[in-house]
């Protein structure tokens, strides 16, 4: 009798421990998902800002139509990209075109003095930073989640309910990693 009660007690405690670990894993997995969606939010913000920028710059940069067209084209390619790999590639190209654009801007002091342009420039700088920081935060969350999946004892629960490890966000080539820092001067 006593033995049966003791066994029951142990089982109840074990069930609670398992529930706790399972919930912790779910919470971590949701944080990873949330961090991933943050990256998308910032990429979309960049897409929204670019038409304004092109519109503002158009009047000042008569001789740079090609540059502006490149930006518009790169933006629509990035917006149409479907798979994660395509997306990363297209967004990288967009970053590249943008940084070229900001180099060209140096030759147009009138544009640099435009109030609208200054405000847009702060927004774009910040958006580029936010893209970088949201990737960084995503990787932090993934690290934490993967550690939890691999480490004892939560690895048992993760195995039972088949939690998959998440992938780190990696930028393929070094050039792209450096590009998101838009240089304005």
């Amino acid at each position: 009798m006593v033995f049966a009660l003791l066994l029951l007690g142990i089982i109840v405690v074990l069930v609670f421990i398992v529930i706790g670990m399972y919930n912790a894993l779910i919470q971590l997995r949701n944080q990873v998902k949330n961090a991933w969606s943050q990256i998308d939010v910032q990429l979309k913000r960049r897409h929204d800002l670019i038409p304004n920028l092109v519109e503002t710059a158009k009047g000042y940069m008569m001789h740079e139509r090609q540059t502006l067209e490149n930006i518009t084209a790169a933006r629509s390619r990035a917006m149409q990209a479907e798979s994660v790999g395509d997306k990363a590639k297209a967004e990288g190209e967009l970053s590249g075109v943008m940084s070229k654009f900001f180099l060209v801007v140096e030759n147009y002091p009138d544009l640099k003095a435009n109030q609208n342009f200054l405000a847009l420039q702060e927004e774009l700088t910040s958006t580029e930073n936010k893209i970088a920081f949201s990737r960084q935060a995503y990787n932090d969350q993934v690290l934490f989640y993967n550690n939890k999946i691999q480490m004892f004892p939560s690895n048992i629960i993760a195995g039972m309910f088949s939690f998959q490890q998440s992938e780190f966000f990696q930028v393929e080539d070094k050039a792209e990693r450096d590009v998101p820092k838009v240089s304005f001067s």
Binding site: A113, N114, Q115, T125, K130, F184
Partner: protein, 433 residues
């Protein structure tokens, strides 16, 4: 990641417990000094009650008290887009659940503090003097340091420790003053009665007296020790968040050049600021009596992080610069084995604003939060109307045209934005003011 840091604060916790011990011992001694046989327990109860009441007040009202005392005013995104953006960047980097509120303090002393007992209710305040001095990267470093105080739960922690320090100070003050004013009568009374109770009572009295003098000093030193440790940790976290220790380092350098004090700060609130707001008073006795590590040392450590921005790199730089081997970073932070690469210097603004322009922008920002109205006449003259100007219209001092004054609070922010992001062209006209 951040949760791990939070859990692993053993060393700071030991200091915290020591302060609690101070409080309990003080209560016990005072109690036994007044009511010999078993007043000690009552003394402990009173001491803890004072601590509890103060804790509850500061837990539920601490944020608004601190913001109120420092005269901080909340700003919106329109008023300073760059500051708002920088805070949002750090919010993203630290995965904070909500956007902290942003406040500005009208003071020339460059400084910043964080408040909020949990990340959801956090607020970050910066002074006008800071905004007028730093560039974007440096501002990011300062905001990251404050964000780290929030992420590491330093605000909550330092509030409770500060309250304990306050409770100890109150107890010993009340006791010592009580002794002072009742000195004559009680000594006469005691000399008569003590013949029966013996020497023990007198000894307890003396011990209580000595301890009442020493306890506040000891508690203060402990409090400062906790504070310094949390500052190093916040610096390390800031470097990790921004991946750019140089930003914070050069901001600290600029801040240390200033000699202004923040009059609204005191010894209890000082640990929440990025640098000691009372630098002219606090630094005399050097290390032990300071809430913050010396700025020059903090800069050297940050600049010593040559190979990466992780906690490991900070710990290594710390050991190398100070020659000490004590661990500043909780061990869970050091387990973090991935390499954290440094990033290149961030954006340099197109035509970085001159010091004069930056000062004018910050002046306008302060006017905007104080409900000044910004008008631009057709002749190009810009006029700032103080909130207590009540007439509906006045003639422009430049061209004489009649200018209507909008009501206070109506659409002033949009106008303020225009004057804040003023272009060089417009600055030429506005310099006529």
């Amino acid at each position: 990641m951040w949760e791990l840091i939070k859990q692993n604060q053993r060393k700071s916790f030991v200091l915290f417990i020591l302060m609690g011990g101070c409080l309990i011992l003080l209560g016990y001694l005072i109690g036994s000094a007044y009511a010999p046989p078993d007043g000690g327990i009552a003394g402990v109860v009173v001491a803890l009650a004072i601590w509890m009441v103060l804790s509850l007040i500061s837990y539920f009202g601490g944020d608004s008290i601190m913001l109120g005392v420092s005269g901080a005013k909340e700003i919106t995104r329109d008023m300073h887009p760059q500051l708002y953006n920088v805070v949002e960047e750090m919010k993203i980097a630290g995965s904070l659940p909500t956007m902290p509120k942003i406040y500005i303090i009208d003071s020339p002393a460059p400084n910043a503090f964080a408040t909020g007992r949990k990340p959801e209710t956090a607020a970050i305040a910066v002074t006008a003097g800071l905004l007028a001095r730093v560039n974007r990267d440096e501002l990011q470093g300062v905001v990251a340091h404050e964000m780290s105080h929030i992420l590491n739960r330093d605000v909550l922690y330092m509030t409770f420790a500060g309250v304990m320090l306050g409770a100890i100070a109150i107890l010993s003050q009340v006791f010592l003053r009580g002794m002072w004013y009742s000195g004559h009568s009680s000594s006469r009374y005691r000399s008569r009665s003590s013949s029966g109770r013996g020497q023990g009572q007198a000894i307890i009295m003396i011990v209580a007296l000595v301890f009442a003098i020493l306890a506040p000093i000891m508690a203060r030193l402990l409090y400062f020790a906790i504070s310094r440790k949390r500052e190093y940790l916040a610096d390390a976290s800031a470097a990790r968040l921004t991946r750019y220790p140089e930003g914070l380092a050069s901001a600290l350098e600029k801040i240390s050049d200033s000699k202004d004090d923040l009059p609204s700060a005191n010894a209890i609130t000082a640990p929440l600021y990025i640098v000691n707001p009372l630098k002219n008073k606090g630094m005399k006795l050097s290390d032990l009596t300071s809430t913050h590590p010396p700025i020059s040392l903090r800069i050297k450590i940050l600049r010593g992080m040559a190979s990466g921005a992780g906690y490991n790199n900070y710990q290594k730089a710390f050991s190398r610069v100070t020659g000490q081997h004590s661990t500043i970073i909780p061990s869970s932070g050091l387990k973090d084995t991935e390499t954290v690469p440094l990033r290149a210097a961030g954006t340099t603004e197109a035509a970085p604003p001159t010091a004069k322009d930056q000062n004018r922008q910050v002046g306008d920002l302060i006017r905007a939060v104080n409900q000044f109205r910004f008008l631009t006449c057709t002749c190009g003259l810009k006029i700032k109307v103080p909130p207590d100007f009540t007439q509906a219209a006045f003639p422009c001092p430049g061209c004489g045209a009649s200018l209507a004054v909008p009501a206070v609070g109506a659409a002033t922010f949009a106008a303020a934005l225009h004057s804040l992001t003023g272009t060089p062209n417009q600055k030429r006209t506005s310099s006529q003011r």
